[in-house]
């Protein structure tokens, strides 16, 4: 029995690895052909993709709707920024520690939220998303209030420039984000394909049935929160590296943006998470490209992306709740 499950795990890991390698090659190819502006946008896609994965795991796979992922991103961002500015850590040390920090925050959230469901959970996490950034002003001396803590990706190390030449700042942003996005993708894919993913889907589909089949669902629910918070913290740390970690960087609208991306792409699949992230990041550019000949006033063009993405969100939910990617990844479950 154990031997069988070991072989199974190995084949799952191989499959996830294949996906990850394919993903990395795709991004590198796209990144090398893009101009600096689009390289920075692609880096943003990778960063938010990790955050959207946290929504996919929590909401799409285990069925718990959280609107507070932005708060967990803020926890990750602040942990990293404090370690970098106060302790002088490099970002390669600070980011993993920030992930530990946000995992702890996720544990706390999971313990208090595991008994909530549906609209209660959504409302409570929405309040959390509003309340956590105000802590920055509460602990002014450490967290520096509205000003925030400036951090950035810095410069590539010498061995990197020796090997690959001097990258532009945007390109370096992309190369910093890529390994983390690849690791996140690998773990998310592993979880989805494994026994853990099956347990989480069982909780989502029917709690009573899941617990009757031996799933300890309150423990698994807390575990989902911890894993999802780790993803969100990583995403938040990288998001802060774009220049600033502050309350204005992690507003409630960021949490809603992640949810929108997850739903548009397909809330149950990793592929969907990526498609959705590409849509929400590049939507303003696409709208601009289509409508630039109409000479729209700034007032209209500022709000148009939000209007279009919200409309798309409603249409997706009403017409095709499975999103762009559909549910083909898990078709075996519903024959």
């Amino acid at each position: 029995m154990r031997a069988v499950s070991k072989a199974k795990n190995r084949s799952i890991a191989r499959k996830s690895l294949r996906r990850t390698i394919f993903f990395v090659i795709l991004i590198l190819l796209a990144g090398s052909t893009f101009e600096p502006y689009n390289q920075a946008q692609l880096a943003l896609v990778l960063i938010l993709f990790i955050g959207v994965l946290s929504v996919t795991l929590l909401t799409g796979i285990s069925g718990q709707l959280s609107l507070g992922q932005g708060a967990l991103m803020a926890v990750g961002g602040y942990c990293m920024a404090l370690l970098m500015t106060n302790q002088g850590y490099s970002l390669w040390m600070a980011i993993p520690l920030a992930m530990v920090g946000s995992a702890l925050a996720g544990l706390l959230l999971g313990i208090s939220a595991a008994r909530l469901s549906g609209p209660y959970l959504a409302g409570t996490t929405l309040v959390i998303a509003l309340a956590i950034p105000t802590l920055a002003n509460r602990f002014m001396s450490v967290l520096k209030g509205d000003e925030g803590l400036p951090v950035d990706v810095g410069y590539p190390p010498v061995w990197f420039t020796n090997l690959f030449g001097e990258p532009s700042y945007e390109e370096w942003q992309l190369y910093v984000a890529l390994p983390f996005a690849a690791i996140a993708l690998f773990f998310a894919s592993n979880i989805l394909l494994s026994r853990t993913g099956r347990m989480w889907r069982a909780i989502r589909d029917h709690e009573t049935a899941a617990s009757l089949s031996g799933v300890n669902f309150s423990r698994q629910k807390i575990f989902v929160f911890v894993v999802s918070a780790t993803f969100a913290g990583l995403s938040g740390a990288l998001y802060g590296l774009r220049g600033l970690v502050g309350p204005s960087v992690y507003p409630v609208s960021l949490s809603l943006l992640l949810l929108t991306a997850a739903v548009l792409g397909g809330i149950r699949s990793i592929f969907g998470a990526f498609i959705g992230t590409v849509i929400v990041v590049f939507l303003p550019d696409w709208i601009d490209a289509i409508l630039h000949s109409f000479e729209l006033s700034e007032q209209v063009s500022n709000f148009l992306p939000a209007l279009v993405s919200s409309l798309l969100l409603i249409l997706t939910v009403v017409i095709n709740p499975a999103g762009v990617a559909g549910t083909h990844l898990h078709k075996h479950k519903h024959k």
Partner: protein, 303 residues
């Protein structure tokens, strides 16, 4: 002592408005099983319409009535255009799980909120504007002291209490109210006994839309009007509804006043920044100690 009185009065008049918001949430939750996160977006939109009417020279009272009617109509439209098609789609694969059935309407209402806020930004620009009050906002003078209580506060409390009384009478004494209560209790049985549940459900949305538009009209004179101003009010209303019990209109009223008091005392004795943390603390406390709220039914939905 002065601070205490000021906090008490402000808590009462703010609490009245929060009670109204919470009532709006509770009515739709009971009537349609949906927590409407777009509610204050609707209120923001209709308050902007009222504001535009007043700037164009119409009287305050005409704008007041129009805003409430617009709020009600918007509620019905949302039900017919978005929520009803959603609840008819239950058979699709994604909606087969119980947790996603609860999550999808929430996501839809967030989409509606986004659309309303973006539209308001496009139509009325994003900068804040004031909204007039029909009565003076200067404190009464009692024995030479200016009291922290204005004639506008009296107006707010009177309007809210009247609305609450009328709503209670409507649900208790009229046939339609009875039909709505029956639908809330068990929509399948209600439909079998000849109640047009689609109609009563839309009526809940209309009521809630009107109530929240009223709340928007009453709260914007003391804050300001921008596409996002009422987000915080929604959060407070949600907390109030959970404190009182999501399925109890009377509980919503009690919760509204309670949360209003907490917020008012925190912002008078602490700093306004702490309000968010206070709301979170109240919410978590209630959810841990008494998840069904003060007046929630014993066999309330599992939280």
């Amino acid at each position: 002592m002065d601070t205490f009185l000021a906090a008490l009065f402000s808590g009462t008049s703010r609490g009245a408005i929060y009670a109204l918001v919470a009532l709006g949430l509770v009515i739709v939750w009971r009537g349609a099983g949906i927590l409407n996160y777009a509610q204050m977006g609707q209120a923001m939109f209709s308050t902007y319409i009222a504001s535009t009417m007043i700037t164009n020279g119409n009287s305050y009272w005409l704008a007041f009535v129009v805003a409430i009617v617009v709020g009600a109509v918007m509620g019905v439209l949302l039900d017919i255009l978005v929520m009803r098609p959603l609840s008819n789609k239950k058979k699709t694969e994604l909606l087969s799980s119980e947790s996603m059935r609860a999550a999808i309407p929430v996501i839809a209402s967030l989409g509606i909120l986004g659309v309303l806020q973006a539209l308001a930004g496009i139509i009325w620009a994003a900068e804040e504007r004031g909204f007039p009050a029909p009565y003076a906002q200067e404190g009464f003078t009692v024995a030479g002291n200016v009291m922290p209580f204005t004639s506008f506060d009296v107006f707010v409390i009177t309007v809210v209490l009247t609305t609450l009384a009328l709503t209670t009478l409507f649900f208790k004494k009229t046939g339609v109210g009875l039909a709505m209560r029956a639908t809330a209790l068990n929509s399948e049985v209600a439909r079998l006994s000849g109640i047009r549940t689609n109609f009563t459900r839309s009526l809940s949305w209309a009521f809630s839309g009107a109530a929240s538009s009223l709340a928007g009209l009453l709260i914007t004179p003391t804050s300001n009007l921008s596409p996002n101003t009422l987000d915080l009010v929604l959060i407070i209303g949600f907390t109030a509804a959970v404190v009182g019990g999501l399925d109890s209109p009377a509980g919503a009223v009690i919760g509204g006043f309670l949360v209003g008091m907490v917020i008012s005392f925190v912002s008078f004795y602490g700093s306004p920044e702490d309000v968010f943390l206070a709301i979170l603390a109240v919410l978590l406390l209630v959810l841990i100690i008494r998840p069904r709220g003060i007046l929630g039914a014993k066999d309330a939905r599992r939280v």
